[in-house]
């Protein structure tokens, strides 16, 4: 098992740092002594079998659920005390049931700016610029006036990624964003993430079963199993424990679902 030291230089705190986090629903333990971090500009994927605690970990990391033990820091602050919440962009799994959402692509993306500018304020030119840029990153600028219901599932997912990007976050957290998404959208999605990571220094935490689309671009992979971190290192490090991700991409899921 390889565990990253997580030490970062300079005064910039890690966008996300969890230390010895434990969480249980009643007597059913979900997370046990989980420590992990996502450094500035790092592209990290979190994977693990169903029921491994990924969803709970994400909720705890985002401050939606307080941990029972251990600590969570977003940009060096406890989640509930981070004033600049816009620094975290979040793409929830199955973001919204859009079949009845009477809104254009641009309106959905612009809703991602509301918190940063202050909820009672009118959008400024700067907000419009952020929205334009987010739409360009996901290659949907030409569909901005289209009702979101008229897009394909993959395009809708890209809209929600753009919504998360619209606040110019420094940490982007995505929960299963490419599940059931068409290949073209997967490629667009990877391009969007890699661009943001490499060019703008945005840290990315991607929670996903399907790493094929991004496997070659990852800085680090964290594998969660039974509520604990069983691997944390560059994807190539998986080879050392006899699992390959790059060439035989199906090996990882097989290993994940196999007996403990």
């Amino acid at each position: 098992m390889q565990v990253s030291s997580g030490v970062t230089g300079g005064a910039r705190p890690d966008p996300l740092r969890m230390e010895a986090v434990g969480f249980a629903y009643g007597r059913h333990g979900v997370l046990d002594n989980v420590s992990l971090h996502v450094g500035p500009g790092e592209f990290v994927a979190l994977t693990g079998p169903n029921g491994s605690g990924k969803s709970t970990l994400l909720r705890v990391a985002l401050g939606l659920t307080p941990p029972e033990r251990g600590s969570v820091r977003l940009f060096g602050e406890p989640p509930d005390r981070l004033d600049e919440r816009w620094r975290v962009g979040y793409v929830p799994q199955r973001a919204v049931i859009v079949d009845q959402l009477p809104a254009t692509v641009e309106e959905v993306v612009a809703s991602g700016c509301v918190a940063r500018r202050g909820w009672a304020r009118r959008p400024s030119d700067k907000d419009q610029h952020r929205v334009d840029r987010a739409l360009a990153v996901v290659a949907l600028a030409d569909r901005r006036r289209t009702p979101i219901v008229e897009l394909s599932g993959g395009q809708q997912q890209r809209v929600f990624i753009a919504r998360a990007l619209a606040s110019d976050p420094e940490l982007l957290v995505l929960d299963e964003p490419i599940a059931g998404v068409d290949v073209e959208s997967q490629d667009r999605f990877r391009d969007a993430l890699v661009t943001r990571c490499r060019d703008d220094g945005v840290a990315v935490l991607l929670v996903s079963h399907e790493l094929g689309a991004v496997a070659d671009d990852l800085d680090r992979l964290i594998v969660l199993r039974g509520g604990t971190v069983v691997f944390d290192g560059p994807p190539a490090g998986l080879v050392d424990i006899g699992v390959s991700l790059g060439v035989h991409r199906h090996d990882l899921p097989v290993w994940l679902e196999g007996p403990g």
């Binding site: 401050g63 600049e84 009845q100 009477p102 809104a103 309106e107 809703s111 959008p123």
Partner: protein, 278 residues
């Protein structure tokens, strides 16, 4: 004071009805748009029943039924929303509990009020043609307050209505906005009570929105269409009610209902004619 308006609004009672109706016709669908998006379309109904308890309490105690209803409805709406936010109850279960408690308390209090029963009926079924100038003024003031709050907060309310969890992560004050929307809903219900009655308040919050969603291609346009259809239903409904001597509250809602049916039919027709593939 009677303004020189053409028939059917040439009489003072019709003008007071028009003023109250316009305030309610604009506000109810406006608030309803956010409720529909949050899958809380029947919130207005539950709150209406609590407002009914407030009316009855007002009649028994001699306090103004309108303001007593406002107090009870706002308190109830905020409590329901607080329970939902704390995950202490699912939205519909919390609504049901308050719904029945409200109507039961209303019935018991009405029994206590005895001979005042006819006063209760004006709130249950609406009695917009007997609105006093003071009530019309109160309704208009409530309406202007609702419009002002929504004008400032609609973008944030939209973000929360669309995706509560993402809004929370982004740092929006989701609890405050949700409780605020619940309170606005209660204010709207109370303002609408005299116009269409507590039994039909929710209809005016939901039906124009249903029509608007089928006509509009953006959220902003949905808000505008919903308000326009709400206003149209009130004006046409009042005119038809006067011309044919019908109950105005029910007529207004039937006009909104007919509009909904027509837009739904048009929408289905359009989809059949031009299906868009994904």
């Amino acid at each position: 004071m009677t303004l020189p308006l053409p028939w059917p609004f040439d009489r003072e009672y019709m003008q007071l009805a028009l003023a109250s109706g316009v305030a309610v016709g604009a506000c109810a669908p406006l608030i309803g748009t956010f409720l529909v998006q949050k899958r809380l379309a029947l919130m207005g109904d539950g709150i209406g029943h609590m407002a009914f308890a407030g009316v009855a309490a007002g009649l028994v105690t001699g306090v103004s039924p309108l303001w007593m209803a406002l107090l009870v409805a706002v308190a109830g709406a905020v409590t329901i929303e607080w329970l939902r936010l704390r995950k202490r109850a699912s939205g519909d279960l919390a609504l049901a509990a308050f719904f029945y408690t409200g109507i039961a308390a209303g019935v018991v209090l009405t029994g206590l009020a005895g001979s005042l029963n006819s006063g209760v009926l004006t709130y249950l079924f609406g009695s917009v043609l007997t609105v006093s100038p003071e009530d019309a003024l109160s309704i208009c003031v409530l309406g202007v307050c609702i419009l002002a709050v929504v004008a400032v907060t609609w973008r944030a309310l939209f973000a929360v209505a669309m995706d509560e969890e993402a809004a929370r992560v982004a740092g929006l004050p989701v609890d405050a906005l949700s409780l605020g929307l619940a309170a606005l809903t209660a204010v709207t219900v109370v303002a609408a009570m005299r116009v269409v009655g507590v039994l039909l308040v929710a209809a005016l919050m939901v039906l124009p929105v249903g029509s608007a969603q089928r006509l509009a291609r953006s959220f902003r346009a949905t808000l505008r269409w919903a308000v326009a259809i709400g206003l149209g239903s009130v004006v046409v409904g009042l005119a038809v009610a006067r011309a044919a001597s019908l109950a105005p509250g029910g007529t207004i809602v039937l006009i909104a209902s007919a509009t909904f049916t027509v837009t739904a039919a048009l929408d289905v027709g359009r989809r059949v004619a031009a299906p868009h593939g994904h």
